[in-house]
């Protein structure tokens, strides 16, 4: 195919789902109504840990009007299938977190549902919950297994002891990050529709149709052909609709099958915050051996993540956390140990960045600490240690692709005038505010960790339709990130067609193959590449047909200037030729399966090898103002430079960077979950504080591009990268302004005050 035709890559056509969203026409799950549809609700645990004694039904309520399901009435095993089978659909004997589901209710309408839910009383004998990483590590409870350890991994390189022996000084620190709520604007929601064949169709707000399908076949004991999962317009996800929709779908489908009615469950916001996953809180201890000039010679890093009550995706989050724990630095002798522990809190799960933001926060703060210990500035200490092409990561991976860490740092410093602004705390003695500037450098592995992509072996199809359009059939969803537009641009470019001819329908598992989940910054880089291959396969079929049709050799058939040609003979437009194919030969579909890039190896057992197919690089400079008296923090400007291979659609790419950066800043200073006996106190939009327009800094984003040969048209992963650098850069800026070193986030004014009093500082 003529890849140059169209010239779409690197341009920014208006997003294909733009008008439906801007006009209010897009239908999200709560906008859908199905004849005969009931509503579902959930009876939840009021306590963090305890034994279920009884479930009492108020006799004054007529329960014949509703359907109630407890663990005893489930149609299949009491399991939401994820990595392990430890997560029950409904708590049976014990509850392990506040808001854990105990019973489900479906009713014909909302008032009846509300009445039924209040007519069910849960009697639980509570016991002492385990709520902190420290208590979990001490084996209290236990919450899970014998020792609360959900997963444990380690990686090492070099000789740690020799490394520390070589060091001029040892710098140590412990860094902590808290829960983060996704706060997608659209809460989790699902509709389940019972089918005549005893199967079920679910329609929902979700990232991973096949995860949901797998969970449903297991929980409902149904064969895969009797389960259909369809995604509809999804109002933000950020990982919050990666694992959790499997739980919700199991609930809705169980009720629908039982009630023999379609059942809709849409969480009210407080329920969503209490019951669904969050970003894993972390404690990362870093001990480094450093030369006098700041060169790292050894690092011993201990990562602990709070996984909540069940496994969910914690082992995978943990693996990404430890694989990013060394930061974008060359550390010749290193050992990284990671553990995910269980506590009596709602299971934590996927959230943009997936463990990496936690460990990158730790290492970036630690680099600032080293800088001040050895008496050099934060830029110098980073430059001395930054990875360059050909360096080795702690997991043993040699970075053969161009390493852009130095480039993004240089550009971010120049664009922001970092040097001119650093250390200028206060314009005058009377100023109400102190100003500060801070930086971070980071990287993010694109696609699944280790052998994940090989295990998934994602499949994609492209189909030429009777309407003369190319449909991209993949299980990856548009959730705001721009997947629809980017995948259509990639296919249009691959086929040399105008963008208007390509569509990406909402995935429906009865129509699309399993291309894997919409996670891990893989949709553009990995799925996009499979789509290119599928387009090639489709074009080859059409070419072969045209060759037969015209008695020409296949290699004489070419597509150029919108037409197919046999030598100089014009055979017709793509549409005309495609329709002729449909008439003569039946469906015109190109299929492709993920191809493992040659030369990359991963040893799962020893956690060694090529952990990711490629890395994207970023540097942030954040400028803040801190009120002298109230310690209120105001991020003024954020300068972000990222290297992402090639931006398919630069406007969408910049939008991802800006949005991710603000999420990272919010996590850094505003967003906090406080707990009382395991109950989240910040369970409303009024109390879980995310940034508004007035809190958001002005943003300057620059895209750097080193095209990545193995990605589609040079693209690498992007979605998660911007989550990695905002918090440590913000913390550094606050330190520059206040001289207070915060090793934990969120850095609220209250935390700053506490640190100021402890330090006796200014």
């Amino acid at each position: 195919m003529n890849r140059a035709a169209g010239g779409l890559i690197g341009t920014s056509p208006v997003r294909l789902d733009g008008w439906e969203k801007i006009s209010g026409e897009a239908r999200y799950v709560d906008d859908l109504s199905i004849p005969g549809m009931w509503v579902g609700g959930t009876v939840r645990s009021p306590v963090a840990s305890g034994k279920i004694v009884a479930l009492r039904r108020d006799p004054s309520f007529d329960f014949s009007r509703v359907v109630v399901v407890t663990a005893r009435e489930l149609p299949g095993p009491n399991v939401v299938a994820m990595i392990r089978e430890d997560h029950p659909v409904l708590a049976a004997d014990r509850v392990r977190f506040v808001a854990e589901p105990i019973a489900l209710v479906a009713a014909p309408d909302k008032p009846t549902l509300a009445a039924a839910l209040t007519a069910i009383e849960v009697d639980i004998q509570p016991d002492e919950p385990v709520l902190t990483i420290e208590d979990a590590l001490a084996g209290k409870g236990p919450v899970w297994g014998d020792d609360n350890i959900l997963a444990e991994y380690g990686i090492a390189s070099g000789d740690l002891e020799a490394g520390f022996a070589e060091a001029d000084l040892i710098v140590e620190g412990t860094y902590r990050t808290g829960h983060q709520e996704h706060l997608y604007l659209e809460t989790n929601g699902m509709i389940a529709v019972p089918r005549g064949d005893g199967g079920v169709e679910v329609i929902g707000s979700l990232q991973c149709p096949y995860y949901v399908l797998n969970a449903l076949t297991r929980a409902l004991s149904l064969p895969p052909e009797k389960v259909i999962v369809r995604q509809v317009a999804t109002g933000g996800a950020f990982g919050g609709k990666e694992d959790f929709p499997s739980v919700l779908a199991a609930h809705a489908a169980t009720l629908a099958l039982r009630a023999r009615h379609p059942v809709k469950i849409v969480y009210e916001r407080t329920e969503d915050i209490r019951a669904t996953t969050k970003r894993h809180p972390s404690r990362v201890s870093v001990r480094t051996g450093v030369k006098r000039d700041g060169t790292l010679v050894a690092a011993d890093i201990d990562v602990v993540l709070d996984g909540g009550a069940y496994t969910t995706l914690s082992p995978v989050v943990l693996s990404r956390a430890i694989l990013h724990a060394g930061g974008p630095y060359r550390i010749p002798n290193v050992a990284i140990r990671g553990r995910a522990v269980a506590t009596h809190t709602a299971p934590n799960g996927a959230f943009r960045g997936f463990g990496a933001p936690q460990t990158l926060f730790a290492i970036e703060r630690h680099m600032d600490r080293i800088a001040s210990r050895v008496g050099v500035d934060p830029v110098t200490v980073r430059r001395r240690n930054l990875l360059t092409t050909g360096d080795q990561l702690p997991c043993g991976q040699i970075l053969h692709e161009p390493v852009a860490a130095g480039l993004v740092l240089d550009r971010a410093l120049a664009l922001s005038d970092y040097k001119g602004k650093r250390g200028k705390r206060s314009p005058s003695a009377n100023a109400r505010t102190l100003s500060g500037i801070g930086l971070s450098v980071y990287y993010h592995g694109g696609g699944f960790t280790g052998g994940g992509e090989e295990r998934i072996r994602g499949k994609a199809s492209v189909r030429f339709s009777r309407e003369g359009r190319i449909e991209i059939l993949v299980s990856n969803v548009e959730m705001g990130q721009g997947a629809t537009t980017v995948l259509c641009m990639i296919a249009a470019q691959a086929l040399g067609l105008p963008l208007e001819m390509v569509t990406h329908p909402y995935p429906d598992t009865s129509q699309v193959p399993d291309t894997g989940p919409t996670v891990a910054s893989r949709t553009t880089m990995i799925v996009g590449k499979i789509v290119v291959d599928a387009c090639d396969a489709l074009a080859a079929k059409l070419r072969a047909h045209l060759a037969r049709e015209h008695g020409a050799e296949e290699r004489a058939i070419r597509f150029a200037d919108g037409s197919w040609w046999a030598a100089d003979r014009q055979l017709g437009s793509f549409r005309e030729c495609g329709l002729r194919y449909l008439d003569a030969a039946g469906p015109l579909v190109g299929d492709a399966t993920y191809r493992h890039p040659e030369g990359l190896r991963w040893d799962e057992e020893n956690f060694r090898g090529d952990a990711y197919k490629s890395y994207s690089w970023g540097a942030d400079v954040v400028e803040v103002e801190v009120d002298r008296d109230t310690l209120e923090i105001r991020p003024l400007r954020a300068t972000v430079v990222v290297e992402i291979g090639r931006a398919i659609n630069p406007v969408l790419a910049v939008g991802q960077v800006e949005g991710g950066t603000l999420q990272a800043l919010g996590w850094g200073y505003l967003e906090e979950i406080k707990m009382d006996a395991g109950r989240y106190l910040n369970d409303r939009v009024t109390t879980y504080i995310i940034p508004t327009t007035l809190d958001a800094p002005a943003m300057q984003v620059e895209l750097a591009e080193f095209p990545y040969e193995r990605g589609p048209f040079g693209a690498k992963g992007l979605g998660e990268l911007p989550m990695d650098g905002g918090a440590p850069a913000l913390a550094a800026a606050i330190e520059d302004a206040t001289q207070i070193f915060a090793a934990g986030i969120p850095i609220t004014p209250e935390r700053l005050l506490r640190l100021r009093i402890e330090e006796g500082g200014s």
Binding site: R27, G482, G659, Q663, T692
Partner: protein, 462 residues
């Protein structure tokens, strides 16, 4: 109850419970699902629509207030063929990602541009501060509004059909609670005289519908007082400012007379929620709710304001200082209506301040707020000092001890730092802050101290 109102140029008559939310009426009764629910408590703005041209959150408008209103939703804004300039600009700038906040964001942008056709970046940020977006980081949205301002203002809004007449006093339908919407004060007071105990009064409804949603309140009967014209508006008399109880904060914040004579009150009004809340929440409601975190009461205390409580039997005046009698309890009796707030004219050279430390910079509830006023003479000697604070005790509180201490003291010269520090310490002792979901007692105490000192430093400097 039956209400008739207009949506996107079309008249509707519906029989709905009086507290049914406009949001549910739009989405469920009229099938207009473009308006989204993100929080149900006026915090996210996903349900923002225009009501009589003002931006409001549809989750905080009860049916009882809809009679005769003109609503415009996203569906009424523009079409694919003739998009509103805001929609066109959002498309071109790539301002939408997941799209869930976008209908509200577009309506907020439209409302802003209607009021302020060429907004600055700061005006855009302020105008959209009540609309949360989790995807974009706002940058592209701000640019889109800038671009929309530069596009020809061809409005895609439907031509208004003839306005539906407002129905007068309405009462309960079969399935609803009794509801009243009198347009005559005497009638309202008679209703209160006989049924005051069970009636919940509705003005801006911004607290009420949130409380109902959270299950904290289940009104037995309601009375909408926003049709009582005599309760709305601002007047300047020889005695001072008279502000009607149902005057919305948007009006208080913009009023030139308030800005001149009670600048601290205008500042406070501008920090209540954001645009959609300021268009609905009222000064009287902010007092009647008696929340310790309310922003207006500390200012009114500092300014020596009184409230007028009216009943069928007559009126009485109560200083705001003694209006709050306990946690979320005030001195207004069931048969009474808070009708107006009176603020005495300040003496010449009056200095006022309102400092709010919220959970964030907009759409936030105070962690601490402090209001102060004083007059300072040429020698730096203070008089007429009044200090009050919010979110630091079970009720908004006046801090008389610190005021007494400062009266007649100098805030210039060599003892000034000592005087200021002492004042700060007295203020910190006078309050009774607690740890809660928003902040800590230690922080509240430290900040109250600092803000009193800040006020003194600022008046000393000029």
């Amino acid at each position: 109850m039956k209400v008739s109102f207009e949506v996107n140029g079309e008249g509707h008559v519906l029989d709905v419970p009086p507290l049914r939310r406009l949001l549910d009426i739009l989405r469920e009764d009229l099938g207009l699902t473009g308006t989204k629910e993100g929080c149900g408590e006026g915090e996210c703005g996903a349900c923002a629509v225009l009501m009589d041209d003002a931006l409001v959150d549809a989750c905080l408008v009860p049916a009882v207030q809809l009679a005769g209103r003109r609503i415009v939703t996203i569906e009424g804004l523009g079409s694919r063929e003739r998009p509103d300039p805001v929609q066109q600009a959002f498309l071109e700038e790539g301002a939408a990602q997941c799209g869930f906040c976008i209908p509200g964001m577009v309506m907020a942008s439209r409302a802003l541009l209607n009021r302020c056709p060429q907004p600055s970046r700061e005006e855009i940020r302020t105008g959209l501060a009540g609309n949360l977006c989790r995807c974009t980081g706002y940058e592209r949205i701000i640019r889109a509004v800038q671009r929309a301002a530069s596009l020809p203002a061809e409005s895609g809004q439907p031509a208004s059909v003839e306005t539906v007449p407002a129905s007068r006093t309405v009462t309960a339908s079969v399935d609803g609670i009794p509801a009243y919407a009198p347009d005559d004060l005497r009638e309202a007071l008679e209703i209160l005289q006989t049924q005051g105990e069970r009636i919940t009064i509705i003005a801006g409804a911004t607290d009420l519908l949130t409380d109902v949603k959270l299950g904290n309140r289940r009104p037995a009967a309601v009375m909408d007082i926003t049709r009582l014209a005599c309760l709305r508006g601002i007047a300047l008399t020889e005695q001072g400012l008279e502000i009607g109880a149902t005057t919305e904060f948007a009006q208080v914040a913009r009023d030139a007379r308030v800005r001149r004579h009670a600048p601290a009150l205008a500042d406070a009004a501008a920090t209540v929620g954001a645009a959609a809340i300021q268009n609905r929440a009222t000064l009287g409601g902010n007092l009647m709710t008696a929340s310790p975190a309310a922003d207006a009461p500390p200012v009114l205390m500092a300014l020596g304001a009184t409230v007028t409580l009216t009943s069928a039997k007559g009126t009485r005046e109560v200083p705001v200082d003694s209006f709050f009698v306990g946690y979320r309890r005030c001195a207004c009796r069931p048969e009474e209506l808070l009708s107006r707030v009176s603020i005495p004219l300040p003496p010449a050279g009056d200095r006022q301040c309102f400092y709010k430390v919220g959970t964030r910079l907009a759409q936030s509830i105070s962690k601490v707020c402090v209001a102060c006023r004083a007059q300072v003479d040429a020698g730096g000697v203070l008089s007429g000092v009044r200090v009050a604070a919010g979110s630091v005790a079970p009720t908004p509180v006046a801090l008389p001890e610190v005021a007494r201490y400062l009266e007649g003291r100098r805030v210039q010269g060599s003892d000034a730092p000592e005087v200021m520090a002492a004042a700060g310490n007295i203020a910190a002792r006078e309050i009774a802050p607690i740890d809660d979901v928003r902040s800590s007692a230690a922080y509240r105490s430290a900040v109250t101290r600092s803000l009193v000192v800040r006020f003194l430093q600022e008046i000393a400097r000029s």
